[in-house]
Amino acid sequence: MKIMVPVKRVLDYNVKPRVKADGSGIDLANVKMSMNPFDEIAVEEAIRLKEKGVATEIVVVSIGEQKAQETLRTALAMGADRAILIVSEDRVEPLGVAKLLKAIADEEAPGLIILGKQAIDDDNNQTGQMLAALTGWGQGTFASAVEVSGDSVTVTREIDGGSETVSLKLPAIVTTDLRLNEPRYASLPNIMKARAKPLAQKTAADYGVDIAPRITTLKVEEPAKRSAGVKVADVDELIGKLKTLGVVA
């Protein structure tokens, strides 16, 4: 079975985002970019399924600017076999991404597509579900455990009150929660080897998919700042404050 893993290049999760002074967005010039953490987990899960003999090939896909090649190389260094980059200098929304991924899935015919549950920049949490709708496949979102057996996959999902387990017919879509696994680091020899792995470049036009944005960002602002607080010296003073606030009688 072939596994497809879409990955996104985003602002590194440790970097505090700076809102541009003109309110047009976040300043991404000269800041560290990395693979979306949820996508690292997706790549890791695909590799583990290959190591278990469930998967035969792992194809990683990214949609974005040329620099997204670095993200794909990272996935190849972790253990993916082959990469596809769909170059788009414009931002592509989840619906457009899902349509492009559907087009690639039609060509590649993977048995399983594993995505991150959300990108930590847009925080949308949409692409996997949208791709599942477009393909008509079952979806196992927010997965904390994935087990493939025969022609189905059992997915344990993180839900608000606890967890639930569903069984999906293959092919299927899975989106990863942080709990799914601990991604490996790529070793230097693997990083070297990844340079030689195939990376195909395409454009959205190659797939005849309309990715025109449906949503316009009117402005981006800093959230309201919290005013500076006070430090109290001991528990009694803290209780005094709690009483003033009416938390305790």
Binding site: M130, F142, G162, E164, V230, L238
Partner: protein, 309 residues
């Protein structure tokens, strides 16, 4: 504009997240509800009484028993022929279903809205809540998920909605519910608790979490939360996690014990009215957002606090 609101329920009662979603939907136009599930008569009756509700569409069928997105989305897509907006609480169920509906309708969803600015424009947090974007949709129909803590709850009484049964779109046969494991707790639900006591990595183990955090929470009638570090280390179950990838909370009072205050944690709690931090590291980032801070050893401070309350 006619809205269709997803009613979040547990088969017996309407969940609070629905009520804030109704408030958001009422800012757009007429409020219709959708109650889907199996044996949901009582939920549907309760839904008709929610203030401001005009109609309650009831889809009672085995195919909807566990809210599988594969079965629910086609149902919603059909109902959307007669509605202009599908409005869904940002719960794990809502986040699972709404984008599948949006793609079936060929529209872009707007996730986790904080406010309604006009018919088609909304604010929403991006980058773990470090920025607020105002966005405008050009789609013919809207699909929105709503951040519950950003809208007041609609009253559960006073409404007089009419019930309309909806035919089933059937079982799609691509997914099956197997089982669920729901954590049992006597404490208030995290997302609607007025007070939350949260513990972090500094608690060191599950026993300390139970013996230090929980008695304080019980004394205050508070919900119990945790940082990702505490969850990953196995001190508490996953659904305790507050943050970008866990639950978003905005209680009256949030007490962070032994939590450093990483960006991802702050994303889940920095809209709390009053933040209290107890931490031995006076440079911990949590003190930059805390209204009241106490620097010291939580193993001494928290039991003393619990004892004196």
């Amino acid at each position: 504009m006619k809205t269709l609101v997803w009613v979040e329920h547990d088969g017996a009662a309407v969940k609070d997240a629905t009520l804030s979603t109704v408030t958001a939907a009422s800012q757009l136009g007429d409020v219709h509800l959708l109650v889907a599930g199996q044996g949901v008569g009582a939920v549907a009756d309760a839904a008709t009484k929610i203030a401001g509700v005009a109609k309650v569409h009831v889809a009672d069928d085995a195919a909807y028993a566990h809210a599988l997105a594969e079965n629910i989305a086609p149902l919603v897509a059909e109902l959307m022929g007669d509605h202009d907006a599908f409005v869904v609480p940002s719960t794990s169920t809502g986040k699972n279903i709404a984008p599948r509906v949006a793609a079936l309708l060929d529209v872009m969803q707007i996730s986790d809205i904080l406010s309604v600015e006009g018919d088609n424009s909304f604010t929403r947090p991006i980058y773990a809540g470090n920025a607020i974007a105002t966005v405008k949709s050009s789609d013919a129909k809207l699909v929105l998920t709503v951040r519950g803590t950003a809208f007041a709850k609609a009253a559960t009484e006073g409404g007089s909605g009419t019930i309309e049964a909806v035919g089933s779109t059937g079982e799609k046969g691509v997914s099956t519910f197997l089982s669920s494991e729901i954590a049992k707790s006597e404490r208030p639900e995290l997302t609607s608790a007025k007070i939350i006591v949260s513990g972090g990595r500094a608690l060191q183990n599950a026993e300390n979490f139970t013996s230090i955090i929980e008695p304080l929470a019980d004394k205050l009638g508070a919900g119990v939360g945790a940082s990702r570090a505490a969850v990953d280390a196995g001190y508490v179950p996953n659904d305790y996690q507050v943050g970008q990838t866990g639950k978003i909370v905005a209680p009256e009072v949030y007490i962070a014990v032994g939590i450093s205050g990483a960006i991802q944690h702050l994303a889940g709690m920095k809209d709390s009215k009053v933040i209290i931090a107890i931490n031995k590291d006076e440079d911990a980032p949590i003190f930059q957002v805390a209204d009241i801070g106490l620097v010291g050893d939580l193993f001494k401070i928290v039991p003393e606090l619990t004892g004196k309350l």
